[in-house]
């Protein structure tokens, strides 16, 4: 069989440990969606060209469609499902709602995770830095302006 034998892999996702039995060719997005039923990350291109599948690994954005699940063993994986804490939305989630930063919403989970990665390393991003951080995330609906606004406003909000 392609991908060889199945292997037991320990994944830490949104602070929870999951043991999965997978072949080595399984991508992270497949395992998140099919094995862990975390449907937030979306597959839109399957080749790392659109960013809809963006999740964080140790705080950094990765294309989960281009990452093998076993590569992230022992690392901290964060998906859109882990963002709201204690029933409270993350400031980025609130800002995306306030600024109408989505229409169809299919790119939104990836877009928010890319923005989260930016704010993890830079709490005072300029407009150019925001654009650069999401330049690999395609959105066909919004024209991007409201997304950039939402991310900049979150940075201002967190600073307060």
């Amino acid at each position: 069989m392609k991908g060889g034998m199945k292997r037991r892999v320990l994944l830490r996702v949104n602070g929870e440990d999951h043991e999965v039995l997978i072949k080595s060719n399984r991508t992270l997005i497949e395992v998140l969606r099919q094995d862990l039923h975390l449907m937030g990350a979306k597959e839109a291109c399957g080749m790392g060209a659109c960013g809809a599948c963006t999740v964080l690994v140790n705080g950094k954005p990765v294309h989960s469609c281009m990452t093998l699940a076993e590569e992230v063993e022992g690392k901290e994986v964060e998906t859109i499902e882990g963002l709201a804490q204690g029933g409270e939305l993350h400031p980025l989630q609130k800002a995306f709602m306030d600024y109408h930063a989505f229409q169809c919403g299919f790119c939104t989970p990836g877009m928010i995770m890319a923005a989260k990665a930016l704010l993890n390393r830079n709490l005072h991003p300029t407009e150019e830095e925001v654009k650069s951080a999401i330049s690999g995330n395609l959105c066909r609906c919004t024209g991007y302006g409201n997304i950039v606004e939402a991310i900049l406003s979150t940075a201002r909000e967190i600073e307060k």
Binding site: M39, K42, C50, M97, F102, Q103, T108, P109, L138
Partner: protein, 779 residues
Amino acid sequence: MDRFRYVNKDIKRTDGALIVTGRAQYTADIEHPGMLYGKILRSPHSHARIKEIRSESAKKLKGVKAVVTGKEIGYRRFSFIDTPAYPADETPLAVDKVRFIGEGVAAVAAATEEIALKALALIEVEYEELPAVFDPEEALQDGAPAVHDVIEPNTTTAWEDFGIPRKARPYTVVHNISNKTLIEYGDVEKAFKEADYVREDRFIIPATSHVAMEPHAAVANYQPTGKLDVWLTHMGYEHKRFWLAKLLNIPISRVKVHRTYVGGAFGGKSSFFPYEFIAAYLSKLTLRPVKITLSREEVFSVCPPSRRMIIRVKTGVKREGRITAQHVKIIDDVGAYRSSSPTAMYLAHVFRNPIYDIPNVRHEAFGVYTNKLPTVAKRGHGLPQMSFAVESNLDTICEDLGLDKVEMRLKNFRKKGDLLPNGDTLTSYALPECLKQAVAGIGWNEKYDKKRFRGLGIGTASMFSGSHNFPFSSAAFVRLNHDGRVILYSGQTEFGNAVDTVMAQIVAEVLNCSMDDVIVHSGDSEVCPHDIGNWLSAGVFISGKSVMMAALDLKEQMLTYAEEGLRTPIDRLEMVNGWVVSQSDKTNRASFSDISKYAIQKAGGDPLIGKGYSKCVPEVYFWKEEFNKIASLSSGKGRFTEAYGLAAATAEVEVRPETGEVKILKMVVADDCGTPINVTSVKGQILSQAVMGIGDVLFEEVMMKSGRVINPNLLEYKIPTVTEIPPIDSVIVDSYEPKGPFGAKEVGETSRAAVIAAIANAICNAIRILEAISPAMKT
């Protein structure tokens, strides 16, 4: 403007929390216990006869539950357009021959996608290759390969099912002509002779893809009771359940299209798709849920992109710039199946008709079959191609004659109240105001012809607000609950258009209650009533109107009970924040909850459900003899719509002479959409189209070589990213459309065409020649 509480306001999406938490459920996210995965084997040839398909070894593979071929399914024909004159020409899988690379020939359902793919590799297909034709002008010649012969209708058409007395007849394809349109008024030849200047240009416009972020998908769950449950990526359930019922021969009421979120559509998910039938067929065969998700490569290479057209525009003008005649000739390269071509060729005229008042017009169009990927509507359906061609032609005429490009257009615009040749009236019309605002916003007078390699351009567009075409009309129910809240049932589909929010605004405005007290149940074909869908740009104008009428009906029923309970005449009562209040004595009041409880207890259990409906151009219907005599997509006669959305755009660009690189410096898009229901959402629609238009002109083209799509992925097919967006002003010009709900009309499809024309004209203005500079738009 201030007379509204919820309409014409910035209202946040009521379902936003689902989207930002990743909880909104798209078709790709639907899972069922025991679900199988479907995959489709596709033709490697552009044109070939299928001699034999051997699938025994695929069937034997462990985990494979079903294998089907085109021969087994047979000639179950469907199409986007299916009228007595143009019967359906497509089958779910090729039966006798394949007509384009990527057409399905067999399908598999298996326990996993991996097994399904393995099984496809085990299916052997023996083909006899046939000569193929790729160029539509060659396809028209004597002796060109025939893509189709005779198309025999084998089901009744939607038109017949809804009462048109004409019967579907076989369509014999001659010279690969799929469909013809000829619309004429005035005397074009005479007017050309009398014109001071006549100019003809030819434009070749390739296809661009919709690139909705969610790839196409279907989940079908056929129940042993004979009911079919489906989850689809779509733009309105009537068209989908019509074809599923017809092709599977099950009652339409037993096909349930479930509500899903749809990850973008732009016209590209409107038509019925082979994979949707195949998922349902495989589910019926296995009695298990079946899911088919297309890969991005499949979306690019087998799902129809925008229409490919060759357009000739010949325009005659008087010296001072008055347009006296226009002859448009279109060759529409439809590909292997005609899909929406008969409508598109008609719309190409209809959508430009409200813009310029041209007394003598001939609009000739031919859909031509080729051995290529079929094409379909994309945001504007024929309008972007036509706006680009006509506005380019006019700009060049202005340059040739030294006419002011703004004045020339203003001089030729139609006027509010004008009666169009087909009988439609422009009851609202703010196109001149749109152009003035777009021109002022870009700084036209200060900037025009001031800097080398800088250019300014104008584009215009118009779009209907629904039509009387299938699915014809919409209805809605509003139900009062005993807690005083209301539930709206509407068949509208969410794909980025904020329908739940917009429809809740309409209900809250009518009942003057809190938006929080309006719950929306949408997009469920079993519970919600008939709906025209979110195509034909009909969402707000037709379905929104039906929602408004349903809320008004409920209001009247509630006031009737309140009149009795409060002992106050109905005309002295008003609704305020969930209460019915006497105008003369504010303490004399009953809550919505009280009224519901009263109706249940005292009035025999009356559930208080408001019903509303709306049909575009209701005077046009199939039982009307006069309509049946004249109505035809081919001649463009007869009423069509009740309101047109309009837009004007301007663009400023800079072209680097050394490299030809184009930089857009600024764009202004002014859209006459009547009164916006949701201002933020309307601006979002305009910006979305502006950015899509940038992609159309500067980046995008579905590139084909010998019938094969050669850039079927998002690395080689580039769409605009955040780094390529210039400053864009979106301006709403509120013309108040008296027939729309609260003055609203279409907004989702007009601007893109205006933007495409504006950018193209700006580039030509910068370099002073009408020449090939963009991948998408060549002359």
